[in-house]
Amino acid sequence: MRNQEKARFQRDSPPGGQSLKSRPLGERSPQKPLSYVDHFGLSAADLREVLGVALSSGGDFAEIFMERRAYDFINMEEDIIKETAEAISLGMGIRVIRGDRTGFGYTNDLSLDKVKKTALTASAIARGKAGQAPPPPLRDRTRASSRYIVRRPASEASLREKMTLVREAYAAAKGYDPRIAKVKTHHSDSLVHVCIANSEGLLVRDTRPMVKLICVAISEKDGKRESGYWGGGGRVGMEYFHDVLTPREIGEEAAREALLLLEAVDAPAGEMPIVLAPGHSGVLIHEAVGHLLEADFTRKKTSIFWNKMGKKVGSGLVTIYDDPTIPSARGSYNIDDEGTPPRKTLLVERGVVRGLLQDKLSSRLMHGAALTGHGRRQDYSHWPIPRMANTYIAAGADAPEDILRSVKKGFYVASLSGGQVEDSGKFTFSVSLGYLIEDGKLTAPVKQATLIGTNIDILKKIDRVGSDLAFGLQTGTCSKDGQDVPVTDGCPTLRIEKMTVGGRS
């Protein structure tokens, strides 16, 4: 069944799913009149005809989402490039909305006949009289500018070049210390072409690149083993691994974490003051706030935030945004998966709830609330739902070292592997590496522990916010309703007055 898991973030996702040969990025020419839509073999006139079929049972709105995804993967383990993979995914999802009902069908056979049949299946939800006029002619709104800053597209780089990156990261981890027993390195890149047409006359395209290089290192000492993880990427080109984060750094960081954990002590158990490192700890905001301000949970009144718009739910130090427009970030896009240009959205301002992440359906059902461009889907076989992109807590005024110095005895969260939330506001996040804080200083490294709290309680307890806003690893994936989408989170150094740490006593 679909809809199994509601809302969880993982810093990495299993390989699969998502690059290849096609036009270079940034060469889109929207001015050119469209006869055929690239990669899909259907003309604008075909698409309009299909939209007409989709509305033939009286739907209020119909939409076609076409997607071609090309994905490349390289796996290195046991000192060899063990396997490579290439995946192509091509298909179309058709959605028809009537009131609060959605009909959805998808197909990977894009012949006009099959596509019309799919439209008819989706239309059945409406069960009424045919719509009035045929949908208006489609107008191409694709913009020339792009948020994906790519100098050398991975889709055009050679397999040899990518293998070199993988080997460098692998060698850096393996050679870091004799206690590194095993290393695994993955490179993946994808190029996704989407084309969206709807019964409001919209026709828009986007070409989305994604690159990821990750390393897992396993350390061993006296029969004891630990693992470390590091990685990077985003909507970037191959130059990223030279200019921003090198394969060597990725390998060394993974090894460093694995080695530190060999010396780590069990986490303490119970309530204590918490200091969160900048960057990774954004997972806290993703779980505690982001999910529960996705408009579907508010519309259905399942979210603890549904009746809190304009109300103070947190400390005055807390201001939170979701911004899909950050250049080249993993969670960014030029248009969302409904064709809406996204905007930086204020969610919480000085502790007061100010905004929701909207998609078209929720916006319609919430009496025309403004679209924010957060309607996203895993792929063509899923319908869009409100999702986060790049979520962060804005920088405050405190110097990070002052925040640390202020804690006599507590727990410092250095890196996180994931988190999960439910609509009641109960959330957890999993620390992969922490430290004890004693007299304002970091002392012993601490291994794996889960932290748990309720958002409206924890948000009030954020009592220091640092000036050092940073984003976490560009490798994270968020799952909701069985759909995975790439996201990032950010935060500055934070102090939480107290929170429950799930260690051992």
Binding site: G41, E86, G418, T428
Partner: protein, 453 residues
């Protein structure tokens, strides 16, 4: 630019798989394996009595494994245009050439034994015959029955889903296999309590045969019961106590154990059980089996993705680790035999479960025999580390005092270690049900840390 009109349509599934295997050989592959899957999906979500979403769709995809000079490359596509598929196969051969040779790479030789797919009873023709109205009504009835209870304050909606899947696998070794399977599922998610004190839970039934599905009333009753029993929870002090896992919780614990006994995790040294084969890893109450041959069960299947026949494997026998679950590759690396557990390029479970055994007792007696402890009913977050066996998760439970449920507990975490848990299981329940392919009965573990205030 590609035009659809000019595309060559794909031949029937089995022909397609066999044609691609032959084509791979002509492109220079030493060995090749092609899988093709044809699926049909139906899904309806009903919330507050109204259809929210209705999906109906069919889709096909193909996967290819190429071995050339002991080097492996994979490819897959949901575009079954022969031009695209042939190009992917050519690319895969070229990519394989760029990799490193791996002495263990290679397809499994053709096995003399075969499992008769029909004997496994994986396909229910009734599912294909169900009309949309019936399926929608099932979801609607389930939610309506749940909402009749006044303690329920909101609904996540009810879902009916069904799948029909035909899979074909063809290999240069001469193996060709094909089978059909069905799934159906019905479930509902609920909330109880006021906005700032909400609790939630759900129940669903998932089966291969329509007639085996729990009724809407039964599903609603369990979902309501599981939800309302969490109302008015308390936080508790941090302490070490016995923890009782209800079967839904034993299920994730078994999932975690599965991840630690795969041949892949073992050769990658990603499991704390590496090097423990033949050794005692738990007490005599721990018997864990992986069985692909149980008729009609969710995890059953005739052959694995290596084309090897599936079987029943004793994983842990009365506390002794007997077998790792291997695909052909990891088995060769470890000098073991494949257990028919290949799943894509990795290892997957069949019906993987903790067996109650002769000493098993009724679940209510386990609770009644507990002086003080936590009955674990839900968890939140990841917090599982296969390298160490360490567990730390957010937890929801019922506090047990003098053998009876005292009050619900919230906002705590449980932590412990899987190795230690297997050694200290004090009681195993008789309530084993195959609600999911990875499962187990109620169990009580002697001690875990429950962190609260």
């Amino acid at each position: 630019m590609k035009t659809r009109q000019a595309a060559r349509p794909a031949p029937p599934l089995r022909d397609l798989a066999e044609t691609l295997v032959v084509y791979a050989r002509t492109c220079g592959a030493d060995e090749a394996e092609v899988s093709v899957v044809d699926g049909y999906e139906f899904n309806v979500d009903v919330r507050k009595g109204r259809i929210e979403t209705l999906i109906e769709a069919g889709s096909r995809s193909a996967g290819v494994r190429i071995i050339k000079d002991k080097k492996t490359a994979y490819a897959s596509s949901s575009d079954l245009d022969m031009g695209t598929l042939n190009r992917l196969v050519r690319n895969a051969v070229r990519r394989a050439e760029l990799g490193n040779p791996d002495e263990f790479a290679g397809l499994a030789p053709l096995s003399k034994e075969q499992v008769d797919a029909a004997s496994l009873d994986l396909y229910d023709p009734e599912i294909a015959r169900l009309d949309s109205k019936t399926k929608i009504a099932l979801a609607r009835d389930t939610e309506r029955a749940a909402l009749r209870d006044k303690r329920i304050t909101n609904s996540y909606g009810a879902t009916f889903a069904s799948n029909e899947i035909r899979s074909v696998l063809a290999m240069t070794t001469g193996f060709v296999g094909e089978y059909e399977q069905t799934y159906c599922g019905l479930g509902v998610g609920l909330q109880a309590g006021d906005t700032d004190d909400r609790v939630e839970d759900s129940w669903s039934s998932s089966k291969r045969h329509f007639k085996d599905l729990e009724t809407p009333d039964a599903i609603a009753r369990k979902a309501v019961e599981r939800t309302v029993r969490q109302l008015k929870p308390r936080k508790i002090r941090t302490q070490n106590v016995p923890v009782i896992f209800d079967p839904t919780q034993t299920s994730w614990l078994m999932g975690f154990l599965f991840g630690c006994v795969t041949g892949t995790a073992i050769y990658q040294k990603a499991s704390f059980l590496e090097g423990k084969l033949g050794q005692r890893i738990g007490n005599e109450r721990v018997t864990v089996i992986d069985d692909a041959l149980m008729p009609g069960q969710l995890g059953s299947h005739p052959f694995d993705s290596d084309g090897l026949p599936c079987r029943r494997t004793m994983v842990v026998e009365k506390g002794v680790l007997r077998n790792f679950l291997c695909n052909y590759y990891s088995a060769r690396k470890l000098g073991l035999r494949s257990t028919g557990s290949a799943d894509g390029s990795g290892v997957g479970p069949a019906n993987f479960y903790l067996e109650p055994g002769p000493g098993a007792v009724a679940a209510q007696d386990i609770i009644a025999g507990t002086k003080k402890g936590l009955l674990l009913i839900r968890t939140l977050g990841h917090g599982l580390n296969s390298v160490t066996g360490d567990i730390s998760r957010g937890a929801f439970g019922l506090w047990i005092e003098d053998g009876a449920i005292a009050y619900p507990v919230t906002e705590v975490t449980i932590s412990g270690n899987l190795g230690r848990i297997l050694e200290t299981i004090e009681a195993v329940g008789t309530d084993l049900e195959f609600l999911s392919p990875v499962t187990g009965p109620t169990i009580r573990v002697a001690e875990m840390t429950v962190a609260g205030e």
